[in-house]
Symmetry: C2
Subunit: 354 residues, 2 copies
């Protein structure tokens, strides 16, 4: 097994001293890169690309060839688990992920199969192994899944939604049924992330894309609680190293204290949060990951540099910061602008780690 | 001029003692009411209805006939100002508001006309006068406008957006140009709200629907600052009574302290906020309005009652709370469920005002 040559990302997640602030970008292997678009054309659909270990490995490594990134992230989708449950994931242009089937009643929920990761999601495990070998210790590999609440949103709504009316109606009218579904999903996510860890990922992130649409009490009951169940069930050490866990609830800036109580190592935060205030609120209980507005990458190099400086200064001196965007990089971004951001993080952050 | 017979809403906004917690609902005159749908059919388009003072008055009063509400809100749209600037507001089914024209370049922005409220928005003023006369002091009438940032979002994007890419690109690349537009809009909103106050509204609310998509520093610079400019320019007393101002930035729960510094009287908050925590953070500087998740109205009477009780208990004993939903009531809600909520607020809140 190749030794990890750059562990700055992992050490930052654990609040340990680092020489500079590590950086990666959510959706860093994506449509803004022409080489990604070329591979994607070769593969067929987005899901075909996820299911082809060699090509998934190729696109995972593409941004690392261009940029000085401190982590790689498995090329996959947050919704592989419901797809493995037979719901028929597909992507429609401009509308995002959709499911061929929806969960429409109690029977649909009770009849959901139990995912056997090694059988039903073997393509992800194979991709992790392939990427891990190809990385050969260059940087850590991040594994991930959608949160139970986020998976349930897509499974019940059938796709994205403005008001989440169907799942919220179930939440307020049949909370026990929804909790049954969320528990079923939490067990699947736990097994899935553990299989990713065994196959070689060195950190995991749970994407709670839709946690922020919930009222604060419902967030705790229907999203956070099931993420906590996952965190409690994860392999936390592998080959003598801690495997850090990052929770990212988009729009969850008001709830960081509660999120920290799950026992995770780091919290992803979006750009509505002031990192220094978040740090004070957490008092060192968790590292923070974020939080540049991805739209900054449409601006000039001067503006990008100034905004990177601002984010670094807001976090301030000391440890426990992983630089990232507050959401995925957008498809219209010029890759040179991503490089400007990454290089600025490395250069400007050294003063905060003296 | 008829004397106001129920001023509980106005007193609550000013933090004064009241016998119970007043309640109204954003979008309370709307599609969930069959009588609204009937009047709307008679009027033609949504905008035709806004522009017909008699019919706008009719729909404004409809929810008051059904429910024991403590305030009426002018029936209009948040985007009347850009429409008056010649941008051609229309509504497409399922997509929300759209503009026939977009602001695409510097010239479009510099060429925007100055709205003369009495000439270009006379239909709103006439509607206010008609409704004020028809209310005859029954409850206060609320006037409103979209915030400059929210108006600019629609004017530049041409409609709603997921990522606000065009306006954010302008914000990061041509901030001075965007500030010019926002200042122009702030002046128009100020004149517009003052005309509404002179015509009879007894409180005003600024709807900052899209403030929450901004990074925290950009929120202050591009949204809050222009709302502050408006607050500073408003008529704050009329006929010996204070005219309270409510700011509502959806998704702005992290920024309440900064919002309070504008000098407004009350802050609207969505359901992600714990009212008791918000109250502690504000230390009595502002009243709070909110914040039930509108999706609760899909549930049973028991759940509605329990959730109303929870919101009231979170705010706790004492003054400075106006009950509302955290966003507009949705078109699929059964009107009887709105009544359950309203009656529960009145009944259950008395214990908090002893």
């Amino acid at each position: 097994m190749a030794e990890l040559r750059n562990d700055v990302f992992l050490r930052a997640l654990m609040g340990e001293p680092v020489p500079y602030t590590p950086v990666w970008m959510m959706r860093q292997a994506g449509r803004y890169l022409p080489e990604y678009r070329a591979t994607r054309t070769q593969a067929g659909s987005f899901l075909d690309l996820c299911k082809n270990a060699e090509l998934a490995c190729e696109v995972t490594l593409q941004p690392l060839e261009r940029f000085d990134l401190d982590a790689a992230i498995l090329f996959s989708d947050i919704l592989t688990i419901p797809d493995a449950m037979g719901m028929g994931l597909y992507f429609s242009e401009g509308e995002g992920p959709r499911f061929a089937k929806k969960l429409e009643n109690e029977r649909d929920i009770l009849d959901l199969p139990t995912v056997q990761v090694e059988r039903d999601l073997d393509y992800v495990i194979k991709a992790v192994e392939t990427i891990h070998n190809a990385l050969a210790g260059r940087v850590p590999l991040i594994g991930f899944s959608g949160s139970p609440w986020t998976l349930a949103c897509y499974m019940i709504q059938g796709g994205s939604s403005k008001d989440f009316r169907v799942i919220k109606t179930m939440m307020y009218c049949q909370p026990d049924l929804l909790e049954h579904l969320l528990d079923h999903l939490a067990r699947a996510v736990t097994a899935y992330l553990n299989a990713q860890i065994r196959a070689g990922v060195e950190a995991v992130q749970i994407f709670d894309t839709w946690g922020g649409v919930l009222a604060h009490t419902e967030y705790r009951r229907f999203s956070l609680r099931f993420m906590q169940q996952i965190v409690a069930g994860l392999i936390r050490e592998r080959n003598g190293r801690r495997v850090p866990v990052i929770l990212f609830s988009k729009g969850g800036g008001l709830w960081l204290e509660a999120m920290a109580e799950t026992g995770c190592d780091a919290l992803g935060v979006d750009w509505t949060v002031h990192l220094g205030e978040a740090r004070r609120r957490l008092g060192g209980r968790c590292a923070l990951q974020g939080n540049l507005d991805p739209a900054v990458l449409y601006a000039s190099s001067e503006v990008i540099r100034a905004e990177v400086q601002r984010v670094l200064a807001e976090f301030g001196h000391g440890n426990g910061h992983v630089f990232n965007l507050g959401h995925g990089i957008e498809q219209w971004v010029n890759p040179d602008h991503a490089r400007m951001m990454i290089d600025a993080v490395h250069e400007l952050s050294r003063q905060y780690h003296l």
